[in-house]
């Protein structure tokens, strides 16, 4: 491990001027990430931010770390190559809903099943921002945009459900303005060994303003957010007056009056288990009606070996078995002579 260093948020700010639209939700995510990284004291140069294309993908330019702004949808593939070649680095992917889920869907799927130790920040604003307002794969069905004047005909992707289906080992959701929860989730994601997907509901105040208003304001958050906590009952509401009962993979809300252990027990409110796949899926698929709760926080977290560790282990085994020399010349001679040879004099 590297020696911890004393850092401030400003150490993570690059010299480049941040060029997102005023009021963009990306600002708060950037600030939260800079603050969090300063708090863990890992040297600046150990972090690499890899992004694709889109508003959110400018993120690396604003971080005073190593960074690579790449091509549309391919950040996971580039990050995977980097992480496998350099397991010692802390690798982050910053991406948007179009980048990760549309053009990059295939790479996203395969990254999750391989489980490299990469942290993915998915800034989901349910719209194409940089190309000026077309519907995205997470836009709601019927969404009227420049490219869908009659409403989007597509069923939206549910990123959490998709990630769970692709065998992700860490899946979480937060909202851009909830700095406290975002920091907590960043911390859990960072310490998780494996791919961590953090879906961040992010407001695009230019092309899709208010997409998350139902749960974004302080009041609304208090009312509708359900913060998932391991070993804690599924309760929500301003005064925790509601609870969820999960039966047969389906969640049902009930009024319990108060978050006392008695009422929780009385109504049979489900206790959350972050390692329980079915519970995670039930939380991911709660139909989003006007009065439904929106689960936030860590949905799912399990351990599975990372691809870079498996590959490193294979290399180590092969080397141990072969007992190779440290000299390139010896190794090459051994390689060149590893089959039938003959000599001509």
């Amino acid at each position: 491990m590297n020696k911890k260093v004393q850092l401030n948020k400003s150490d993570f700010e690059s010299h480049l001027e941040v060029r997102w639209c005023p009021g963009c939700g990306d600002y708060s995510v950037l600030a939260a990430v800079q603050r969090y990284l300063a708090s863990i004291g890992e040297p600046i140069e150990k972090h690499v931010f890899v992004s694709g294309i889109g508003c959110s993908s400018r993120f690396p330019y604003y971080m005073n770390t190593y960074g690579f702004h790449t091509i549309h949808g391919r950040a996971p593939a580039i990050a995977m190559g980097l992480k496998i070649a350099r397991p010692d680095l802390s690798v982050w992917v910053v991406t948007g809903d179009g980048d990760l889920l549309s053009i990059g869907g295939n790479h996203f799927l395969h990254m999750l099943r391989r489980n490299p130790n990469i942290k993915v920040l998915l800034l989901n604003n349910q719209i194409y921002g940089l190309t000026k307002g077309q519907y995205s794969p997470t836009s709601t069905k019927g969404k009227v945009t420049k490219s869908s004047p009659a409403g989007s005909p597509d069923t939206p992707i549910n990123p959490i459900q998709l990630a769970l289906g692709a065998q992700a080992t860490f899946v979480a959701r937060v909202i851009d303005v909830d700095a406290q929860n975002l920091t907590e989730v960043l911390s859990e994601a960072y310490t998780h060994r494996g791919t961590a997907l953090i879906e961040i509901y992010q407001n695009c105040n230019i092309f899709n303003d208010g997409a998350f208003d139902r749960i974004r304001g302080r009041d609304e958050r208090a009312q509708y957010q359900l913060l998932l906590r391991h070993n804690a009952p599924l309760v929500f509401g301003r005064n925790s007056e509601n609870g969820l009962i999960v039966e047969n993979g389906r969640a049902r809300a009930v009024e319990i009056g108060s978050n006392s252990s008695e009422s929780v027990a009385k109504f049979g409110i489900t206790t959350y288990d972050v390692t329980n796949f079915s519970l995670a899926m039930a939380m991911a698929t709660i139909p989003q009606t006007d009065d439904a709760c929106v689960p936030m926080g860590v949905f799912y977290k399990v351990d599975r070996p990372c691809i870079e560790d498996v590959l490193a282990e294979q290399l180590k085994d092969a080397r141990k078995k072969a007992q190779l020399s440290s000299s390139a010349k010896d190794n090459l001679e051994e390689l060149y002579l590893s089959g039938n040879t003959w000599t001509i004099r």
Binding site: H15, K46, V48, F68, A77, M80, A85, G339
Partner: protein
């Protein structure tokens, strides 16, 4: 082997022989051919091979579409081509005969598996009469009709193997028969069988038995009244191994990693005929080689960009359609100025084309196939042995100039094999990589795009290096700082600098050496896998006193700086290519010379005789 010799068999000495094995794609033809090749190489012959198989794993048995072939040219002199026409054809079924007979030299040896010539099999490929009983056929060639399947069954009557397994051993009968015909012992192949089937002892002993049966049959029945001997070739002294182009490419890449001390990261997606390179490298974990089988060609290309950013020697391979998919990411690599190597084992296109056949039609895509002005270095290997050298060279240039390098190979080179004079690790060219570890702009911010004066390469910084953290990406860079820049003049300047950097690679290219008389009138100009054929063609031209010289290009972008002067020396320039004139287009464009082409797209390599004919027509 000390059989009951009834009468002495005449032994005849030949300078060189071309033999072609042909049968169904399940008959083990490739295995028979490659083992016969190894035997030939090990007795000291020079060898050149030409495997040829269908794209289907198992096309319907007995059809023309399912015929698999393997041609070997072995010789007592230096040879460079697999031979235009076989002297010996082994046809294991009527379809194989139908497809290949037209190539057999008149008076050549024809060996037929009598058992496969059933009425049904014959009618399937349109034979009205059984060739095994065709007097004309029997007299036009030295035909030997052998009940190969039956004899294999008899040899294995007590083996306990299933009928299907027994049938599949017949390729070893053929191998035994042909080994005897060319005066070779069987013990080396027997040993090889032991290793190859070491976990299937029943199959090992069955194959060894059938091999011996084929050999003894030839010896005891005296069906051949003569056996042939091809003396060893006077190859350059040294130690040799018989290896394919794919294997030698892999050896070149591993050598580059070992010599430079860089970890090798290879990502690719399986595609014929490039997959062999992935298979070869996947076996080299002990040398620190990481192979990553990506989810698609794009991901493979992207993964090596990431690995290169992390400081690895990063490589990928692909073929036709896969190469197209990599184009966008290659543009990013050009912009990011990161070193990496893409090996494109060309196949016949467009689209899926003829996936198992060879062609040279990706040259223009390699040079121009990206959006924007995105120049990079393009090299081409010309033979299996040369693949070793060019793979190493590609890695060296990529890291020295901080650029992607495309190495063009093709199906013919990658699948063919020849004796490789084993390299001396000490004699490989110097390959040192120095990562930048200190700020090149003391007191200021690190300049990620400040260039080396000689090469114009930017510094290579391993992500994670202290004090040098910086951001790169696909947006245009400001000169020196590498910051994002929309400045109009800066874009023009950066495009110029990137182009000039690639042009400077010309300083790495050794002076051209033209083969042939200095007063020749015609220059035979080639690139890639046609070199062997063109070399043989030159020999024929010289024997016929034609004023011809030959030049082969291994560096396609940039082109060698002395090429203009060389081209100016000749009245005629003939460029044979397995495409419609891609190098010709480049040469005409750059040098304004009236180069002519010999172009064919049949999925096959040129015949020496057709190149010679084209030369004659032009003179």
């Amino acid at each position: 082997m000390e059989g009951n010799k009834k009468r002495p068999i005449r032994q005849e000495q030949l300078a060189s022989v071309v033999i072609r094995f042909a049968g169904d794609s399940g008959d083990g033809i490739q295995l028979t051919g490659s083992q016969f090749t190894d035997e030939s190489a090990l007795v000291g012959n020079d060898v050149v091979t030409l495997p040829n198989f269908p794209a289907e794993i198992r096309a319907p048995a007995g059809t023309i579409a399912g015929v698999s072939g393997f041609q070997i040219h072995f010789s007592s002199s230096d040879i460079y081509s697999p031979g235009d026409r076989p002297d010996v054809l082994v046809a294991l079924n009527p379809a194989a005969l139908k497809l290949n007979l037209k190539d057999l030299k008149l008076g050549g040896i024809l060996i037929l598996n009598e058992d496969a010539f059933t009425p049904k099999a014959l009618s399937r490929v349109g034979f009205a009469n059984n060739p095994c009983q065709d007097e004309k056929l029997l007299s036009s060639y030295r035909t030997f009709v052998v009940p190969i399947t039956q004899l294999t069954k008899e040899a294995l009557v007590e083996s306990g193997l299933s009928a299907r397994e027994v049938e599949r051993c017949k390729n070893f009968f053929v191998l035994g028969l042909t080994l005897w015909l060319f005066g070779r012992p069987t013990d080396m192949t027997s040993k090889w069988i032991e290793t190859k089937f070491k976990n299937k002892s029943e199959l090992a002993s069955a194959n060894a038995k059938v091999l011996q049966a084929g050999y003894s049959y030839a010896e005891a029945t005296e069906i051949f009244d003569v056996s042939y001997c091809v003396p060893p070739a006077p190859l350059e002294p040294g130690r040799y191994r018989n290896l394919s182009g794919s294997a030698l490419t892999a050896y070149g890449l591993v050598s580059a990693a070992q010599k430079s001390g860089l970890p090798l990261f290879f990502a690719s997606y399986p595609i014929t005929p490039a997959s062999e390179l992935l298979h070869e490298l996947a076996r080299f974990k002990k040398y620190g080689v990481i192979t990553f089988q990506a989810e698609d060609e794009i991901a493979a290309m992207c993964a090596i960009i990431g690995a290169s950013y992390g400081g690895a020697l990063a490589l990928t391979c692909c073929s036709g359609p896969g190469f197209s998919l990599k184009a966008e990411a290659l543009g990013l690599a050009v912009m990011a100025e990161l070193p990496l190597v893409v090996v494109n084992v060309q196949r016949a296109g467009p689209s899926t084309g003829l996936p198992t056949k060879t062609e040279q039609s990706d040259l223009l895509q390699a040079i121009y196939g990206r959006h924007g002005e995105a120049p990079l270095c393009v090299l081409a290997a010309s033979s299996p042995s040369n693949s070793f050298k060019m793979a190493y060279e590609a890695c060296r240039i990529a890291t020295k100039y901080m650029t992607p390098v495309i190495l063009l190979s093709d199906g013919y080179i990658a699948m063919g094999s020849e004796p490789w004079k084993i390299a001396d690790p000490d004699e490989l060219s110097l390959f040192e990589v120095a990562f930048t570890e200190v700020n090149n702009n003391p007191g200021g911010r690190f300049l990620a795009y400040k260039r080396d004066e000689a090469t114009l390469a930017r510094p290579w910084v391993k992500a994670g290096t202290k004090d040098l953290a910086h951001r790169i990406g696909g947006l245009e860079k400001e000169n020196e700082t590498g910051d994002v820049s929309y400045d109009a003049n800066n874009h023009h300047l950066m495009c110029q600098l990137r182009a000039e950097k690639i042009n400077r690679i010309a300083q790495e290219i050794p002076p051209l050496s033209v083969e042939g008389p200095s007063d020749a009138e015609l220059l035979l100009l080639g690139w890639g896998g046609t070199e062997g054929i063109l070399r043989e063609a030159l020999k024929v031209c010289q024997a016929n006193k034609l004023p011809v010289a030959r030049l082969h290009l291994h560096y396609l972008n940039p082109l060698p700086s002395d090429l203009k002067e060389v081209l100016g020396r000749f009245k005629h320039i003939l460029i044979p290519e397995l495409n419609f004139g891609q190098l010709r287009t480049l040469i005409r464009d750059k040098y304004l010379v009236d180069a002519r082409g010999l172009n064919r797209l049949t999925g096959e390599i040129f015949k020496v005789e057709e190149v010679v004919r084209a030369v004659q027509e032009m003179l």
